[in-house]
Amino acid sequence: MDFTYDDEQDALREAVRGLVGKAYSDFEHRRQTVLAEPGYSEDLWRQLAEMGILGLPFAEADGGSGAGPVEVAIVAQELGRVIAPEPFLASIVLAGGLVSAVGTAEQRADVLGALSSGERLVVLAHAEPGSGRANAACEVTATQDGDSWTLTGIKEPVPHGARADQLVVSAALPGGGTGLFLVDPSADGVERTGYAAFDGTRAAKVALASAPATPLGEPGADVEGSIATVHDIARIIAGNQAVGALETALRTTTGYLTSRKQFGVTLNTFQALTFRASDMYVSLELTTSLVLWATMVLAEGDPQAVHAAAARAGLQVARASRHIGQEAIQLHGGIGVTAEYSIGSYTAHLQALEQLLGDATFHLRTLAGTVAEHGTLEPV
């Protein structure tokens, strides 16, 4: 068991930090970016593509560089550190992950290549009103007519769905099960309404009315399992993103405590506040450990183990996000709830990650369901 990064991984981190961290080093820039459309920096996205970051997880044959989860996690941590609003999770991890897992060789080369090069933004449209966190699609249905397929129904919320150049849409198959489809959002029968989520990132309602669609991979095949696994992967990667954000939230808070004066002294004079910062640090360390472990489990690749690890990381991240997110604002006081200052946006973004991929009760339910099946829990 080894928690250390190798030199190449350190170099990757430096490179990403040099680009993304630098771009958003001034929080005001992040704020202005999410106030304008499309809610992220197209320029930065292109630079990430040029640096090879967008193709990191995809096979070389598909236009990527075939790196592993540890490398993707490093990118996520750096994005999280500055709560970059770029659509990395929605497009690279979720949409790209599913194309990678399910697509034909041709589709993989086409979609992943375009995704990696930054020329096409592809996102996953899976969530449906009223379906909670089901892996199956229900409200959007697929209809087959010979070799042609159309989709009908509503997907909402679809992260970055309004800006996307191509959608990967899940739909209930006529023969049962859930299939995935590539949809051109400019086609007839596709109507999109975009908006900003509370953390500034973008989402949309996507209404499909007999919209033309191309099956991803084998037509008619049930890929619910792949959807589940890619969500588990996304939970672990999002956990890394959260760790980055949590670190900054704590550092911002301790920085404030040492500089803000009240009653003639800096706030770190008040032990009740510093002890709470210490508890935040404890949360952060435990969360970092669990997320790094889950990333290593992901690198080993067993889907069953990944499923459990995603729930474990998810639960711990959710608890820490609430704890640190709430305390960070409270320890700041009034300025903590203003939009111009950074800390509230960190709390909001941590909350958005949780809503995207599962809150504490969701993950706890998963874990409670199997707690009776083992004795001691061993990390290896």
Binding site: G132, I154, A197, G334
Partner: protein, 383 residues
């Protein structure tokens, strides 16, 4: 010891319930229930409906529109307001500056301001906090210098809630910089249309515009707008901040929101973990409500009860906890917070997370929960 209300109190409760649910416009109450932001007009309209029946400022002196009610009766009034989704009368008017003017103001100030304040003909705003004077309010630096029969005010206030709607501002200013900080403060009433006064919006993390900065550049304020004696402002401020024992914690609204969250949760309540969260919160809220009742019943001399800090502390924690649970019930739909009317997701799921984020302020504003803990430790526990 008796569980039931007296016949008289029950009768009052029924009357109030009837009035609130039939005389205050349904549309306003629907908006409150749904957690939507109210317009200025709605707030004004509902307060005027109450005032027309003498129900806007029952805790004021009788000659200025108050009712000679017991604390318990005022508590009932406050709970029934919230249960009926009636907007609570604007706090700046009804519970802040109104009682201060009634207690400290000259007869002239009273006549000039109190009727208009009770009827929300004047919308008051609060100018207390400053960027460097938050929990340490007494270190405020906005100055007022006497110049003939005026004061000239310079400086900056912040966290002025709904200041964009304000007609008049009650404010604390430093009138003597050479004495102990609490001893050099005065309270001034300022017409917000006075030249040199500028209100600038502050955007909060829920995206809303609820608080403001107020800047003063050589703002000339007639000396007669001083409340009480010169340099006695800290006394008025303490009176204002410690004035209320009824309504310190928004119990009624939180109860209503918890019950609504249960409705909205639907089938999720079948999950024992979810049901347990609701049951736990409901029990804490009951304990809080009963504590509020014990506090109001404890004496009727109007002095602030030390346990008010308990109500503020726990009241805001539970208010936040209910908003958190509601947000969790919305689940992934919460990401559609910015969606419009054509969204396929219900409106409450859009509002849930911004409301949760907005309410982080509850434990900060109006005496942070750290200040409340400090008060409990010092004044109640002698630590």
């Amino acid at each position: 010891m008796r569980l039931q209300l007296s016949d008289e109190d029950r009768e009052l409760r029924d009357e109030l319930r009837d009035f609130f649910t039939t005389k205050v416009p349904q549309e306003i109450r629907d908006d409150v229930r749904a957690g939507r932001e109210l317009t200025r007009d709605q707030i004004v309209e509902s307060m005027r409906v109450l005032n027309s029946a003498g129900l806007a400022v029952p805790h004021w002196p009788v000659e200025w529109g108050g009712k000679d009610w017991t604390e318990l009766q005022r508590h009932i009034w406050h709970e029934e307001l919230q249960a009926a989704c009636v907007p609570v009368p604007l706090a700046f008017n009804a519970t802040m500056i109104g009682p201060v003017i009634a207690h400290f103001g000259s007869q002239e100030l009273k006549e000039r301001f109190l009727p208009a304040t009770a009827n929300l003909d004047i919308w008051w705003s609060q100018g207390f906090s400053e960027p460097d004077a938050g929990s340490d309010l007494a270190s405020l630096r906005t100055t007022a210098v006497r110049d003939g029969d005026h004061f000239v005010v310079n400086g900056q206030k912040t966290w002025t809630t709904l200041g964009q709607y304000g007609d008049w501002l009650f404010t604390l200013v430093r009138t003597d910089p050479d004495v102990k900080k609490q001893a050099g403060i005065s309270m001034l009433l300022i017409d917000m249309t006075t030249p040199g006064l500028e209100v600038r919006p502050i955007q909060l993390i829920d995206g809303g515009h609820e608080v403001n900065e107020v800047w003063f550049t050589d703002v000339r304020v007639p000396a007669e707008n001083l409340v009480g004696e010169l340099n006695s402002g800290w006394t008025q401020a303490k009176f204002l901040l410690g004035n209320e024992r009824v309504g310190v914690a928004p119990v009624g609204a939180t109860k209503r929101n918890l019950a609504r969250a249960k409705e909205l949760a639907g089938r999720q309540l079948d999950d024992p973990l979810v049901a347990a969260r609701f049951a736990e919160l409901e029990n804490e809220l009951l304990a809080l409500e009963l504590t509020a009742l014990r506090v109001v019943a404890d004496s009727t001399d109007g002095a602030p009860h030390p346990a008010s800090s308990v109500l503020k502390l726990k009241g805001t924690e539970l208010q936040q906890a209910v908003s958190e649970l509601t947000m969790d019930m919305a689940g992934p739909a919460g990401l559609a917070s910015g969606a419009g009317d054509d969204s396929a997701l219900p409106e409450w799921t859009h509002l849930a997370t911004p409301t949760y984020l907005n309410l982080r302020k509850a434990s900060i504003y109006g005496g942070s929960n750290e200040v409340q803990r400090q008060i409990i430790a010092k004044t109640i526990l002698g630590l």
